[in-house]
Each structure stands twice: as C-alpha cells, then as structure tokens.
C-alpha cells in the first residue's frame, strides 16, 4: 500500500500526486517509469515518474484521466492508498551514461506533448543542474491539457509554450515551434520528445529534416512491466523490442510509429464500454 501524501488538481483532467514509495524514490532515474494499480480489482497501468526525492522517500506523478483506470486513480483522495506501485522500470535515459565532461558542451531540446511534460521534467532538471544547455517546448491541444509550465521554467534555459487552439502560449503545434527555432539558428546536439504517439511521430519527421538526433519514450500497453508479457512489443529498426525492458526510450528514427499507434488501440472497444459504465464517455472524446 502506497499512501497519497499530496494531491492537487492541475486542470479539469490532470492531477498531481506525491506518493510514499521509499524503494522507488531511492532508485528512480530520469527516463524510467512505474506500473500502478489503484485497488484490488484495478488494472495495472504504466505511468511516468515526474519527480522523486530519495531523502523523503517520495515520488511524484502527473496523471491525466484517459479512461476508467486513470479515473479511479485520480479519484483517490489525499491520505488514501494506491494498492501497488512498481518501479522504477525501464532503462534510464541514455545521457545518464555520459560523464559531466561529455555533457558539458552539449545543447539539448526537449519537446513535450500534453502530460509528456511530466516525464521530461526529471530529465531536463538533471541536465540543467549539470550545467547543460536545455531548451524546452511544451505543447498541448488546449490550456486544460497543459501542465508543469512553472516548474519547467525554473530548470531550463528557454521554455516555449504552444497550444493547438491558442488558449495558452502561441497558437500552433510543437513541430512548428521546433522547426522555427532551428530555422532561426538554434543549434541542438540532441532532442528528446515525449507525448502522445502521434505527436512523437510528427516530431520525428520534423527533426529528420534537420538531422537532429532524437530520442522518444514509448507509452505502449503493458501488463507486468518486467518483460514477461510482450504486450509492449514494438518494431525498432525492424527488430522486436519490449518497451518495458529494452526501452522505454528508443532512437526515434528506428521506431515504427504506425504499428505502435495501431497496437495502442487493441483494447479501445473494451475501454469504450468501461468508460461508458463510469459516465466518462462524454468527458473523454477520442
């Protein structure tokens, strides 16, 4: 049982929680994720780690209601418990292997879509605290899906914000922003994009135009998260990889995004029925 120490609603659909999970907090590194189950009969779902404090034994998550299981987690109150929190899972970000010397002169651009700003936060913070130059783009469909702006601003060189409908930041897509920055002469050695699969696909196409090395973090379906079930399998450079143990981060140019997007939809029909039962169908439009 893992106690919810703090809970805040960030937007109508997005919540922030601090959870008592000492073992996870002690080992978490940028790039890794969790499997969380709300209750006895709940589903095991993968969630990103937004922050961690090993001295307090606390981890933070940012979670968006996208269906029945995320809804049930979001409806838990401060002081209540999550049944299970397993992690940290997956490999840490590749830059964790670089020495400070290797990192020093590199310039990074992070591109986050929606709640993708949560998993990029620990990465951006890690690099920025090492003195690495980091720019960040956060984009979302509208202001209700845009989070972590203030925290992010404190840990990066420049923060750029955009929404599809212009309700916050500039009106437009993260790809427009990325391309404009590069066209305007910004030089980056590496990019990291995390967000919805379709967003990562298009960021990859944009990055390719400028030969910008790009890493993406794949939010596939998962059950155990430890390599046992193969639900998370993706084609990377034509080879079968398991996002939970081989990833979740991969070289963006090697990923078969169309297959990954299709595989994400396996349980859509099932989920539509579940969402309807909870009256979530009007709240969530696919």
């Amino acid at each position: 049982m893992y106690k919810i120490l703090v809970k805040k609603q960030l937007t109508p659909l997005i919540y922030y929680m601090e959870i008592d999970a000492p073992r996870v907090a002690a080992s978490a590194k940028p790039g890794q994720f969790l499997i969380v189950k709300s209750s006895e009969k709940g589903e095991r779902i993968p969630l990103t780690i937004c922050d961690y404090d090993s001295s307090k034994g606390v981890i933070s998550i940012v979670i968006q209601i996208v269906g029945a299981s995320s809804y049930k987690i979001c409806m838990l109150k401060e002081g209540e418990y999550l049944d299970n929190v397993l992690g940290p899972l997956g490999k840490p970000s590749d830059f964790m292997d670089f020495t400070d010397e290797q990192l020093k002169n590199r310039r990074y651009i992070f591109i986050a879509g929606g709640v993708g700003s949560a998993p990029i936060y620990p990465q951006v913070k890690y690099l920025y605290n090492k003195g690495v130059y980091v720019d960040v783009i956060i984009g979302a469909r509208n202001k209700d899906l845009l989070v972590m702006e203030d925290q992010m601003r404190n840990v990066c060189n420049n923060l750029y914000v955009c929404t599809d409908d212009g309700s916050k930041g500039e009106k437009g897509l993260v790809t427009n922003l990325l391309e404009r920055l590069i066209e305007n002469g910004e030089k980056y050695d590496s990019g990291v994009a995390i967000g919805p699969m379709v967003m990562m696909k298009f960021v990859t196409l944009s990055a390719k135009k400028y030969n910008l090395p790009l890493v993406v973090s794949l939010n596939t379906l998962m059950v155990d998260g430890t390599g046992m079930c193969g639900a998370c399998r993706v084609s990377v450079a034509g080879k079968m990889k398991f996002a939970c143990v081989d990833g979740p981060e991969f070289n963006a140019y090697d990923v078969d995004f169309d297959e990954a997007m299709r595989r994400q939809r396996i349980y859509n029909d099932f989920e539509d029925v579940e969402n309807k039962k909870l009256g979530l169908d009007t709240l969530l439009k696919r």
Binding site: Q32, P88, D224, A231, V245, E259
Partner: protein, 462 residues
C-alpha cells in the same frame, strides 16, 4: 492389500459443463476413495517413486498413513519435503516422475500418487487442526529470495525451517509466480489453493514483499550492503516470451500466452468485477504444444471461443502432460498437428484475419532427440481466426544478471551455476532462470537444493 483392484477413478466435471466455467476440472478423491486407492500401494522396500521425485517426498510413508485414515500424520510427512502439496498434487507431471516409476505401472496402472497428495493437502486445509510442528530456532540471519514462484517458495520454506530470516521479493502484486499468473484457475484454484499454501509460509515467519523488481527497484549488491542480507537465491523464472518470427506477429490480436494467461489468471479478466482489458475473439488459434499452450487453449475455450491448436510435430511429441492434452481434446479444442504457422494475415485495420500454415513431416532426430519437423512443399493452407496466442517458450530476462557484477551467464543468458551457486559469492540460483522453461516441481527441487547450499555457505562464513 487390494492390488487386484484398478486405479480408483477420480471425479471430474463433465467436459461439456466445465468448458463453460472456470471452476476446477478435477474434483479430487473423498476419504473413502483415497483410502481405497492408498491400499493399492505395495510400500516397496526400495521405492522407485521417491528417487523419481525432484523433492524426494517420502511417498510410501505418506500413503501408508492414508491407508489407516491418519490424514494429519500423512500431511506431516508430506510437509517434511514440500510446502506446496495441494499445488504439486494438481500440476506435477506424475506420469513421468513418481507414478512413471511405480512398480504397479509395469503391468497395470500406477498408484495415483498425485491425487493422493492432493487429497491429503485438501483434507487438512478443509479440516484445519493445530499440528505438532518442530519449534524453529531462529538465527536472525537474513536471506533474500528473489521471485515467489515454485523455486523461491521451496527455497524459502526450507531455509525458514532451518531458522533463517527470509524475505521473498516479488515483482508482481501477488506472490506465487507461475502458480498465480500462469496456471489457470480451472487447474489450480488461486484463493482456495495457491493463496492458502503461501499463507502457510507466512505463518513460518517468511516475509513477502511484492512490487519489488530486483535489478531495478533494488539490486542484489544493495540488498547485501544496505539491508544486511547474507545470501540471495534467484528464482526469477523464465522471462521474455518468444514469438514465431513470422510476418504479421505484431498484428492486433496476436498475444503471447504469457499476456493472455496473465490477464486471465493474475488479473482475472474472466471476472467482470475486475477492470482488466481483455480480447479473445470468436475464433482463436493457439500456436505451441506445451502445457502453456494447453492452458491458453482451454482458457480461450472457456471465454466462448472456438479453439484450434497448431503444433509442428505429431501427437507423440506434444510436450504437454497427457492429462492436459486429454482434457483439451475432451473439451473440444481442435488439434492441427504436424502443422506450422508461416504467416499471420491481417485486415485493413491491422487486426488478425487468418493464419497461414504449412503441413509438416518428421525427419531425422535433432539435438533434443525428437524427430525434426520438415515443411511439406505446396501444403500451405489458411485458418480463419480472430486472434493468435503464441506459446513457444521464453527467453531469459537478463536484468538481474546485468545488474549483479560478477555473475556469469551462458550464451542464452541463463545464469551459470555449480550446485546452485552462481559465480557471484553468496548468490545462488535455480529454476527456469537457470534451466530455461521447465516444470513447477523441477524448480522446487532446485529451490530445495539451493536452500541446503545456502545453509552450508552461511555456516562457512563463521
């Protein structure tokens, strides 16, 4: 002695009824049936059944007690060597082990050792009574057991009885390993059997910490350095599912048997009260011929599907237990033997539509001694199906080996051991992580061996 009677038949749910429910197929013996069956045992002086048992249960002795109706004493004899009699009585391949060596089997039918073991365990569970147990003298020395499957449970049980302070680390949210996520409810009931047998381990003072993935949540080095563990046993199981390496294996509707079974067994998708997403389809094709393939096929059948099982060799080579094959046939699983998938075809939305197979014939024996299947040219044919469940075995998960400096693995990633000791001091391993996918009981046997090796190792430190 009633050697002139045949083996007492065990009651089962009728195939046409059980094919629609997840209740246990085999109903087990009652007291009279058990006593009658026990009376068939010759109580051999040199019992071949015991040497054929991976955990060396004193079989004639526990059966002797049943003959006299002393079920509690029988249970005490079982408990000397196994913590999981209700499990083993249900899932062991007795026909190739104890029962396969039974003298009565030469001319007639072997004693139903498995069914008797199960009877005793079930009887004592249903009629609980405080049994005399040898008092454990605790030594306070900590040993970590990684994985709560058969190997880990057997190792933990023996070490706890020797007085060690045991913590089992499990990555899933429930203990039991394959007993919990893999073997279906209709073969091995979870709440009634698995959980109860694991509870007995907890009664011995064994701690079970779930949600801990060793190598990620904490490493073996950290367990030694920060938490004062003196030794560790790795019984983490087989690992990553293998796929057939054919076109279309990533289509929607293609699942590993691990995923399909985990969603049903651990996550109880068949029970509407659980939130677990699940897809089965009206027509299901299972690829493989082992126990896991039988479990997947019979699970799909119970979800209402019409099930075809495709296996590349002939009936004789099916690696599954006879009883499982027999049950699957009775329940209506269709077998396409000497058949191998070569492609999975999808519809325009990327969902499975059919599986293209080729007929096979058996050629020369391969390295495993089994005749290797060879495709027959021009024999390709298509089976229409909504989903494909792949049960072709597993590859080793390397995470523990990769995060434990000094631990050697072979070319397949299996941990190399010598009498269960790995190349890393204080770290022992056994079960599927060493042998590759095998059986519950072989894993338990390795767990027991490791327990005595760990005891010797820790004593050598003083």
């Amino acid at each position: 002695m009633a050697n002139n009677i045949g083996r007492v038949k065990v009651r089962e749910q009728e195939p046409f009824i059980r094919g629609k429910n997840f209740e246990e197929v085999c109903l087990g013996y009652n007291s009279e049936e058990a006593i009658l069956e026990a009376s068939r045992c010759l109580n051999c002086k040199n019992p071949k059944c015991v040497s054929a048992c991976p955990v060396k249960i004193k079989i004639p002795s526990f059966i002797e007690k049943i003959k006299g109706g002393n079920f509690y004493e029988s249970f005490e004899i079982l408990s000397e060597d196994t913590s999981l009699p209700a499990v083993c009585g249900r899932v062991c391949p007795q026909e190739t082990q104890c029962e396969g060596s039974c003298i009565l089997g030469i001319k007639g039918e072997a004693v139903a050792i498995g069914k008797l073991e199960r009877f005793v365990a079930d009887y004592v569970r249903h009629n609980p009574k405080v049994l005399k147990s040898n008092e454990i003298i605790r030594n306070g020395l900590k040993v970590a057991v990684i994985g709560s499957g058969p190997a880990g449970l057997a190792c933990a049980y023996d070490l706890a009885k020797m007085g060690y302070d045991i913590t089992i680390f499990e990555s899933l949210h429930k203990p039991g390993g394959v007993l919990t996520y893999g073997i279906p409810e209709f073969r091995l009931p979870k709440a009634e059997v698995v959980e109860k047998e694991i509870d007995k381990l907890k009664d011995l003072g064994i701690k079970i910490e779930t949600d801990v993935f060793i190598g990620r949540t904490i490493t073996i080095d950290e367990l030694f350095d920060q938490e004062n563990f003196k030794a560790a046993f790795i019984g983490s199981g087989a690992g990553l599912p293998q796929f057939p390496n054919v076109i279309g294996e990533n289509l929607n509707g293609v699942f590993s048997a691990n995923e399909f079974l985990t969603r049903n067994n651990l996550m109880r998708a068949f029970d509407n009260e659980y939130d677990t997403p699940f897809f089965c389809g009206k027509k299901v094709c299972v690829v493989g011929g082992g126990n896991v393939a039988m479990d997947a096929a019979r699970t799909a059948l119970r979800c209402g599907a019409e099930v075809t099982l495709v296996y590349r060799r002939s009936e004789k080579e099916l690696p599954a237990r006879r009883e499982e094959v027999h049950h699957a046939v009775e329940e209506g699983v269709k077998f396409e033997l000497l058949t191998n998938p070569i492609e999975i075809k999808g519809d325009e939305k990327g969902w499975v539509k059919s599986i293209v197979c080729v007929r096979m014939e058996l050629g020369e024996p391969d390295s495993s001694g089994r005749r290797s299947p060879i495709p027959i040219k021009g024999s390709e044919f298509e089976i229409e199906t909504d989903s494909v469940i792949v049960a072709l075995g597993t590859k080793i998960n390397r995470i523990i080996a990769d995060t434990t400096p000094g631990m050697e693995v072979d070319s397949k990633g299996r941990i190399i051991v010598e009498n269960t000791a790995t190349s890393r001091k204080g770290v022992f391993a056994g079960g599927d992580v060493v042998t590759g996918a095998a059986t519950v009981i072989l894993a338990m046997g390795e767990g027991r061996k490791a327990a005595s090796a760990i005891d010797k190792y820790i004593k050598s430190l003083k």
